[in-house]
Symmetry: C2
Subunit: 331 residues, 2 copies
């Protein structure tokens, strides 16, 4: 059983994944993934994954071809869905069982298609799938948060070529989201305004760091980005919770996410990147001091080692330059 | 002039390094460093670096051969040492000038020698150099913190082969240290004890996560490590400030750091790694709720992409296994 353990100093929870434990020689033998061979995410190979928990289909029975988006449990989950939390102390330390859900959102039937080559309609279906899965998992009272993320490219942690996102349902709130909740709360107490709403206002007025905007969203290079070409997609209008977006907003998100990823791809020639959705935790909901958003983080620099040890980042690309480049690039 | 900018949500400061700004094509063209050629850190090439600010020498004038450790300003500093902080607002955002010192500690004359092949005496001199430089920079009232760190191996961000550490003096406290200060303070208020002292006690009693110990230090795999084989070196006796260590403690640190790095090297065959020293900020000093330490972070897993976006880590190696391996390995 994997374990969730809490760092007694900073309060950060980590998963200690005992079932796919790595010993020293496993690291030495990490190799590039085989190309070719059989892809378990391709249509026709549905039996190679655990049975689907959700799909958007044109036709066919579950676990047969004919789908547009297919969601399956991760075959090698970092957390186990069965069991109780078993919260307990270990001396001065705190732990609980590694309870959670770990799912794979297969974003397309087409193995060769990268996300920035999707149609808007296809990306819309992916976003609807995120929404459905979060709403479903939210009914499980053991979970406090569902983390949606995508790894694109080997350097960003993708181990399969076929375009997919992942979802992890957690009995704790991830540290970065918790920090944003606290920071947003402090800002709100001080100014009686949502910090993200203030950011949207200032960025729309200055336009220097604006990458794109549409009816419901802005895409901006944040004022103090940790990484070159880091880009956030933020709702124009206050909203703390992602999974309650209606179809119109979801469609607007699909549109700006697609063009932003196309801009990123055209600017940096298919860079490895991650994106992650930050939303208000289930037990907080629609608060006035938080604002959901999507963060896109290209992985361009190798010099990210000591940052882990210090939390201190040196960014060699001013966000104004990154935003201008992405605004002006042909795609 | 580089800029320090603050994220308005989480309060994290970043350096926006305008002078070595990178545009999109710079990332595409990143290549492995040339091997061979002339090494600017080798003896005889002292004129290739800015003039030294400190050295420990067997003989010779400054900026000539005959040194054991040599400290020079970074030729491409992330921060500038001249000027005032110029703290100011930019709309809702906060910024200041990128004032700071950025130095390189050249740890040995011998180009081919990696840190785990040093003698204890040599590593002792490196640690004394850290101490001297921090004490000197502490006199500059603009600085709140000096960050000492080492990148070993290309994957951990080292751009030169010749063994060296770096130092950055900052007008702000790095986020991770700030978090530890706050976490340590909260723990102290709750329990009237230092959390690190409690960790030392529990680890010495359990011994499951203990890698090594000597007169003044323990080396442990932390209970909730973010990364496989993450290892902390913590003083046995309470002490918040690194730079006031006396020679006896510095020598004990050299000894345990050397054997720990040897164990790491033997366990994982020369892994890329970073280490970083966390110490109480200058304006806090010898407080009862903080405890300085050195964190060693091997860079073994590629799957560190979405962690940046979530602060949430999945560690595939239980610290008990890593510690046992490092305890038992022949080196």
């Amino acid at each position: 059983m994997p374990e969730l353990r809490k760092d007694p100093i900073t309060g950060r929870w980590v998963i200690i994944s005992t079932e796919r434990a790595k010993r020293p020689h496993d690291f030495a033998s990490e190799r590039p993934p085989r190309r070719g061979g059989v892809c378990p995410l391709c249509p026709g190979n549905e039996s190679m994954t655990p049975p689907e928990v959700y799909s958007i289909r044109r036709e066919g029975e579950p676990n047969t071809p004919g789908w547009d988006v297919r969601v399956v449990p991760n075959k090698f989950p970092a957390l186990k869905v069965e069991g109780s939390l078993g919260k307990s102390a270990h001396g001065i330390y705190d732990r609980m069982n590694g309870i959670g859900a770990h799912e794979v959102i297969i974003e397309t039937e087409e193995h060769e298609k990268d996300i920035f080559d999707f149609t808007e309609e296809q990306l819309f279906k992916v976003i609807l799938s995120y929404r459905v899965r979060i709403q479903d998992l939210k009914n499980d009272r053991r979970f406090k948060y569902v983390l949606i993320f995508k790894n694109h490219g080997r350097e960003a942690g993708a181990s399969l070529e076929h375009s997919h996102s992942q979802l992890i349902a957690l009995p704790i709130v991830p540290k970065r989201v918790q920090e944003e909740m606290v920071g947003g709360y402090n800002y709100y107490r001080f100014r009686d305004r949502c910090v993200y709403c203030d950011i949207v206002d200032q960025e729309l007025e200055e336009r220097e760091r604006l990458v794109d905007d549409n009816a419901h969203f802005v895409a901006v290079a944040p004022y103090a980005p940790r990484f070159p070409f880091e880009t956030w997609i933020v709702p124009r209008h206050h909203s703390a919770v992602f999974e309650t977006v209606d179809d119109e907003v979801a469609s607007s998100l699909a549109s700006i996410l697609l063009t932003t990823l196309k801009r990123l791809n055209a600017s940096l020639s298919n860079p490895p990147f991650n994106y992650v959705i930050h939303s208000s935790p289930f037990n907080e909901g629609e608060v006035e001091h938080y604002h959901w958003h999507l963060e896109i983080i290209p992985k361009l620099t190798k010099v990210a080692g000591f940052e882990w040890g210090s939390g201190f980042y040196i960014n060699p690309t001013p966000p104004e330059e990154a935003a201008r480049f992405m605004r002006e690039v042909n795609f």
